[in-house]
């Protein structure tokens, strides 16, 4: 076993900057919370979905630009988003989609699936609140399209315990694209 061999690298290796995630039970609970989140959205149960949003929600999908490696910290706009919502504006979106019968951008509804993976959970300074990173692969299919439009992203959530379950306090969705591949975000991420 050569695990005592020396590592030869042409530069000093910096330490890992990511803390250790939380325990497996909390992780399981929050993962199931994210599955519930995805299930409600995928099934267009948008009115039910409002239950798991916190009243002080911030929901942000920043605009991105391709930059040289040296500028990559400024790829995401801190100000302008593809979406920039609070609970009230999201409730209005849901109202339109669910209750008007004239929200054409999603009628017939897209077939959307939100594949959630790479979930990691960290405790925060606030008791009962967790920072959660999850990877989102979203497939979207409309009408009789034979292929799917994809969206790949990293979600940074703040999740808060609420009785037996959780609520979403903050979601920032960092897309792996500078030009979005679909004609709108009439859907939630």
């Amino acid at each position: 076993m050569s695990n005592t061999a020396e590592k030869i690298a042409p530069f000093e290796i910096p330490p890992i900057s990511l803390p250790k995630p939380t325990d497996s039970i909390t992780h399981y609970q929050i993962q199931q919370f994210l599955h519930l989140d995805a299930y409600l959205l995928d099934h267009h149960l948008l009115d039910q979905w409002l239950n798991i949003l916190a009243p002080d929600l911030r929901y942000f999908v920043p605009v991105r630009q391709t930059k040289e490696r040296k500028d990559r910290d400024s790829e995401f706009s801190t100000k302008l988003g593809h979406m920039d919502d609070n609970f009230q504006s999201i409730a209005l979106r849901v109202h339109r989609l669910v209750n008007t019968g004239t929200a054409w951008s999603e009628d017939p509804a897209s077939r959307v699936r939100r594949f959630v993976s790479n979930v990691s959970v960290w405790e925060t300074d606030v008791t009962g609140e967790y920072d959660v990173i999850s990877y989102l692969l979203l497939t979207r299919n409309r009408f009789y399209q034979e292929d799917y439009t994809l969206l790949s992203a990293e979600r940074h959530d703040r999740v808060r315990r609420k009785g037996e379950t959780f609520e979403l306090v903050r979601r920032e969705v960092r897309m792996d694209q500078s030009v979005l591949g679909m004609p709108n975000l009439a859907i939630f991420l």
Binding site: V61, K67, M83, G101, S178, L180, N184
Partner: protein
Amino acid sequence: MATQNGNANEDYAMLRKANPVLSDGTPIADLFNLETREVSLSTMYDPELYRVEMDKIFTKVWLLLGHATEIPKSGDYVVRHMGEDEVIVARDRKGEIHVSLNVCPHRGMHVCTAESGNAQVHKCIYHGWAFRPDGSFVGAPLEKEKMHGDIYPKEKLGLKKARVQLFHGLIFATWNEEAGPLEEQLGDMKFYYDIMFGKTHGGMEVLGPPQRLTIPANWKTAGEQAACDGFHTLTLHRSQFDIGNFGNISDTMEEFVPIMQGVNVADRGNALRCISAATTFASVIGSGEDFNKMSDDERLAKLPPPGIVNAQLLAEMKERLSPEQLHVCAVAPPQVGNMFPNVNLLFIYAPLPDGTLGSGYVVHTINPRGPDKFQWITWFLCEKDTPEEVKDIIRAVAVQTGGTSGLIEQDDSDTWPHMTEAARGSWGRTETLKYQAIGGVNRPEGWPDKANVYAGLSKDDAQWHWWLQYHELMVNK
């Protein structure tokens, strides 16, 4: 380069260049019926027609590329598109803005591979040819070896440059050496665009980098709609009435539809809808006062036009605009429309905590990426001298209304692809687009004699100008 192949097929080809006929034998002129105001639906997909458009429109006219506030500092640049060509939009040391083809004259590599940044020298990563922000050639590596050769002097080895013109901070460019100034293209509509973009000393600024997305549709689906298709609001955007965003609507829509009323103005393919201030006043302020009886000054005080959020800006506006322009602002300020060929403008009110209205502009370009695809670019703009905390509110409201996830515009972007799909079919392509709701010229008393004026319910008059301009460029030129 010299031609050694003079013969019949070349003659034919030359003919086709001058007077385009599609390969199935259809002259482009036959796609239009100017009398009955019809356009063949085939225009919404035909790949041959698309190539002609790239030559006859997108390399000939002035195109909007962005806003000067996106690149405030020397060396700042963004990469944008003119038709399917990538260009570098950069500010030089003197503060001037240049637009250069992002294609290396050495071997055709993209010179900038990032979409924005800051550099005084753009060095091509392939063989190292270097260029300044103004596109001029600096040199190639191994200077003394003259690796760029000595056939051309250095002056000839810069990036291909476009002509640039700023309009109230909006950056326009064209490849066409023979084009008149931008004003010629705007025609009489400049009068209105000046109102929209030039009414404060500080001018406008972007609220962030633009949203960008891809729509699987022909660019003209969005292009022609932008030119004052007011009618679709009632049906496609019906949910806005249903959730109370557009005021009331009767169930039959037969009755009074305030949002449809106003003055449409159009010239050379440019069109704008000026929406009745009285109507806005009634629905937003609703004080019961009779707006129609007020003077222009009173009206402007009660309902300042879009963007004028405080007394200071109001004063600036009065200083900068002519009485005729102020009259327009007082009775029906321009709020939504286009600039030919591929710009869409939309004004958005944002209610502020103090009960007043903030406002911003949504500015789109529709960038063709093939006969059945375009990139949709969305800038959010407001008056630079708007207070910062108001800008934050405007930004959020505008993003919730227009662009990628906008409650209004998400219905549009879902509609356009259907039209291009319909235009693919052998039978569908023989259907026509119809612009037959004709109101006729109708200039209200006191309205300035600028552009073609169509007051009343928004019909197809203004929109038809878009196709007339398209026809002019594609058939007559």
